[in-house]
Symmetry: C2
Subunit: 440 residues, 2 copies
């Protein structure tokens, strides 16, 4: 019998306990596929009294990550703690010791992915991270291995389940952001501190990981203009639907004609017939446009214990098989990551959805149209909706408020921003106007 491949689990929360469940339940099949048994050798947690996953021998549980990473009998480290430190140091130490590493840590990969990949290559170790983006979706594998001979023109992902859940409920219930956020927090679909999700940072982390594989690009969250979903209101969902679109929070990576990378995270209007438009609730999806393969869309569960663990264990099996064959470093071989020029967001074009709230008085439309025209923004269609009659639109006491919504022809972001700055300075405009791109 082949000697076992021994792995340590750093972290045993939602994902970690799923990994224990799947590797235990399917031990015989996984052994056959790897050619050796997979043996859970250590489980490292902050508080051993809190390990709830069944079937873990208490003797394996400790708080000592350093010992696990240093243990020469351990072949593979699975890191499902998250965050920059101490996870980053653990992973670096493990790679330097020639161990293979499986991680779901998108924020670490977003900041240090290229240097970690280089470290893995230098020590001929595998660094695998399917679970870092899209939960159960095989999007890392697809970009890394399946599209190896292809050229990705663009990718657009719904990669944050919290945002998608909130937007879906806002649309279905015509409810405002704050109300739905509270409900999502009660149900466990949003964190008590929701900023990482609802302000788009988590999606930006994931976009950096996707850009690394799709474009061999060393980018960090600082390269990604990032907007969350707090500015979306029920009225936007209603008008989007009326125009034939759905509002989705997207992570977008695209190569421009000048071969610069256009990276963005923001809510956008997606045509109702586009496959991303019907991806609702906590589902995630990634749409990839590639030169050879054409359009592909992957849809699935973006989070959760077993869905994420399925991706972790797929990586574990890859790493174990490679170690058994003596070819660690196999998957990421030649995955050259370089700094790529980033496109200035202001210079990218789109069709735009604009929404503004104005006082109901004569001449308003003319002045708004004039400001748009001054900045070379041409109007494709416009709707004016009046005055606080719908409860969901009512602004405290402003009974003369009208909502003006319009779709533009293609316009540069810089022109849209300049026009809106001018419009928002007009005395009859209430609050900040909203601009959303049409994507897809």
């Amino acid at each position: 019998m082949a000697s076992p491949i021994r792995f340590a689990l750093l972290g045993c929360g939602i994902v970690g306990s799923g990994v224990v469940e799947l590797t235990t339940r399917n031990a015989a099949y996984l052994e056959a596929r790897v050619g050796a048994p997979l043996e859970l050798a250590r489980v490292v947690v902050r508080d051993p009294s809190k390990v709830r996953a069944a079937k873990i021998d208490p003797a394996l549980v400790s708080t000592d990550a350093a010992a696990a990473v240093a243990d020469p009998s351990i072949d593979i480290i699975i890191e499902v703690v998250g965050g920059q430190e101490p996870a980053g140091t653990w992973i670096e130490t493990a790679l330097r010791a020639g161990k293979s590493v499986v991680t779901a840590n998108k924020s670490l990969l977003a900041e240090r992915g290229p240097s970690l990949l280089a470290l893995a290559a230098a020590h001929r170790a595998d660094l695998a991270f399917e679970a870092s983006v899209g939960g159960a979706l095989p999007v890392i594998r697809t970009l890394r291995d399946h599209l190896v001979s292809d050229w990705v023109r663009s990718l657009r992902g719904i990669v944050n389940g919290t945002c998608n859940y909130i937007l879906t409920r806002m649309r279905d219930e015509a409810a405002p952001f704050d109300v739905v956020l509270s409900a999502a927090q009660e149900l466990g679909y949003a964190e008590a501190e929701p900023s990482l999700d609802v302000d788009g940072h988590d999606a930006a982390h994931k976009l950096c990981v996707l850009a690394l594989l799709a474009y061999g690009a060393a980018v960090t969250p600082a390269d990604v203009p990032t907007e969350g979903i707090r500015s979306i209101e029920p009225v936007d969902h209603r008008f989007a639907a009326r125009f034939g679109y759905a509002i989705k929070h997207l992570a977008v990576a695209r190569e421009t004609a000048q071969r610069e990378l256009d990276l963005r995270v923001h809510p956008a209007l997606v045509p109702a017939r586009h496959p991303l438009a019907s991806v609702d609730g906590v589902l995630n999806a990634v749409a990839i446009e590639a030169d050879g393969a054409g359009s592909q869309v992957l849809v699935g569960r973006g989070a959760g214990s077993l869905p994420t663990a399925v991706s972790v264990v797929a990586d574990l099996v890859d790493c174990a098989r490679n170690r058994r064959a003596g070819v660690a470093g196999h998957q990421t071989h030649g995955l050259d990551v370089v700094r790529r020029p980033i496109a200035a967001r202001e210079g990218t074009e789109a069709v735009w959805y604009l929404r503004m709230r104005v006082a109901d008085r004569p001449g308003v439309l003319a002045q708004i149209a004039g400001a748009l025209g001054t900045h070379e923004v041409s109007i494709e269609q416009m709707v004016q909706e009046g005055g606080g009659r719908r409860a969901s639109d009512r602004q405290g006491g402003e009974d003369d408020t009208r909502v003006i919504v319009l779709l533009t022809h293609t316009a540069f972001e810089r022109d849209i921003r300049a026009a809106l700055a001018q419009i928002d300075g007009m005395p009859f405009v209430h609050g900040h106007s909203l601009a959303l791109r049409v994507e897809g």
Copy 2:
């Protein structure tokens, strides 16, 4: 510099020329990922004067497949000819010689997949076949590697682009099958001899390949009850839409509660909000329900030169990387394929859509409802549409014809068939009634 990995191309038609294009265009990147150059060593075709793909050295082209398969300097054989023979013999000979094989040949895999996998394992060679199902979709890779720790409950695929194209146009244009088939033939979306596609055989081949990976099941097309799309009429699309469904031609594999395999190929009603419902035209898609991962859907181009070649080259790179590392046979290691019990179709349950044409006379409905009740089929809703007033429904001269359409509650297929046999024998029923399952 590492010595090149040499591959031979058996067949240089639509897919083969795509493989030449992608491997030529991306030679440097592929070399970096493999760790050695990929070298096209031989191209075998029936008629060398017809090789149109640019950039092939004419000295590489011959009609001698046996020489290519026997050439000890060749590491990998790519078979894109199709059919049982001589492709089967070429692949067996190559595997016996320890060469790795990449093939897109679904009909061969459907008949002999398990024995070819066993042969590959015995000779420690790779047998890779991503391009055999779903064109550019990474469905083989997903089932084989990504869901390695998961249990597939069911999969439903739109895997024949010709059927999907024809059904989509029939729906959009309210046009009959024959008219749309002719148009599809003119456009090259259907063959002059369309039976392989429109009668469902191609989808059944692909279902056998999917069942092999999803269930480790040795099944052949003889195990798959197979229906095509010839019986679908525009009226069916209209009623399906009215009831909130789309008609799609599906390949279905499912494990029953008794752990038998329920395998079927047929047109079915898919709920309008199901991700498969919006997969139109020549697109393919596979929806997988798995125990851990939950629902996943992959959507993409199901055919065409570059889309299919992307899948072939992904396999080529896997095989080449494995050979370079001396670990051929890596991917399919431990992929145990066994004969599985097949569920009797008559014993499987579904909600059914039934459509019948009847003479417009009193008592008809009562007799039909009676026949259904006799066979334990309960009606959920029923619509009667009358009498040749729509051009698309008109039967030659039968101005008194009415169309009766109904949805049942869950019923066994055997009861549906028995009820329809009785109904079709009634003197006022014209032609054969149609029964479609609701799936998804």
